[in-house]
Symmetry: C2
Subunit: 242 residues, 2 copies
């Protein structure tokens, strides 16, 4: 910082960086994109920040500390009307982000609590391959069943399952109504295949049926499958139209 008499005060980029706690590179960047520009230059080209520039920088810094992007900061400073809507939107975004992080956390803790070290990846793979349409309890059953079935049979079932899912997604993408006979037929194959996985033990079947109904809406968030996927509901509708 440097005084030129009569209260005329200018800042060099390095001093401003130290005072604000930002880096010189960051100030260059803000200058480049026109967010905080040094209003003056020395004859040799060195930036000189005026008090107005400094004030703007501190405004930018405080808005950044609320988690806004640089573009959001720019528009916040350009429009003179209320900042409240912007802040409320930001709060909503933060809430969504918090929810997302929380979902990841709960899944990870559940995984770490419930499974032995070696089974982590295989459990994950099962969860993923079977498209999250079974609960964690069911997956435990399934793994033991898979072990007794032998790897080839499991591979064959997987392939069938994947083909089913792919065809159903195709119909969804095409906008085929769930009541379409072809979709209904696929949903029956879906259930039949599910039965092969769950086996013919009536206790497991009943439990699968029950937990399916109970969890179908929460499974997607539990396992992290995007909630707007809709495949589960699609199949449910087809099953109902049967």
């Amino acid at each position: 910082m440097r005084s030129y008499g009569l209260g005329v005060t200018r800042w060099s980029i390095g001093d401003l960086a130290k005072a604000s706690g930002l880096t010189v590179r960051t100030l260059y960047h803000y200058d480049e994109i026109g967010l905080v520009v040094a209003s003056e230059r020395t004859t040799s080209g060195h930036r000189r920040y005026t008090p107005d520039d400094v004030r703007r920088l501190y405004q930018v810094r405080s808005l950044r500390q609320l988690g806004l992007t640089l573009e959001e900061v720019r528009s916040a400073l350009s429009r003179s009307d209320s900042l409240r809507p912007l802040f409320e939107a930001q709060l909503a975004a933060l809430n969504a982000q918090a929810q997302h992080v929380e979902a990841l956390r709960s899944r990870l803790t559940a995984l770490l609590d419930g499974h032995t070290t070696e089974s982590l990846l295989s459990t994950l793979e099962m969860m993923s391959v079977y498209e999250s349409y079974f609960t964690a309890d069911q997956l435990t059953d399934l793994r033991s069943r898979a072990a007794s079935m032998g790897p080839e049979a499991v591979e064959a079932l997987k392939a069938s399952w994947l083909e089913l899912v792919q065809q159903l997604r195709q119909h969804m993408a095409d906008g085929t109504p769930a009541t379409d006979p072809r979709v209904v037929e696929l949903s029956r194959q879906w259930d039949a295949l599910g039965a092969k996985f769950t086996g013919d033990d009536p206790a497991i079947k009943a439990a699968a049926q029950r937990s399916w109904e109970e969890n179908k809406s929460s499974i997607s968030t539990q396992i992290g499958w995007p909630a707007d996927d809709g495949l589960v509901d699609y199949v449910s509708q087809a099953r109902a139209a049967q």
Copy 2:
């Protein structure tokens, strides 16, 4: 998907994208970086994914859903030892992220609850310019005082304040001990300047003094100033050495 008899099943990139819910571009990307490569190609160069490729893709997808980066996924799949340490590290990272989001949220809600629409930005600016060394209540007082002082006087004070902060940061960076006479002198200027801001109303002064002592450790987190900044403590030490 396509069968070539005897259970030999290959997937085209489009079908695999539909079945997995990822985009074709994503599969290209995974192929480019060698994360999930199509083991085969047709004579014309079209990718054919084998069942092993498909399984690997689902493993990748499930690990991605836990919030791992692509590099973390790669190393997780390459090393055959336990995934538990990796998952625990990821959980720790998620916890830190949750804390960060929570801090932002609380600051925003506090702002939205406590201030009128028009004062949001000016409050933020004050908070930022005065380096978070006053509480929100004090800032309310200060704004009214600033209004009665006139803008030029306020600017002059701001400039002095910024210069002080810059010099103190410089001493901190240089490793000057807080007991150094120069630093002690600066801390006295700091207090004197603070007195100018808080005015000579003894009630405000006392409140400022009290809340300063009460809040000095929590202010940084409240306002979001990095906790490792240390400038507040540095000044406190210098004041004590006086």
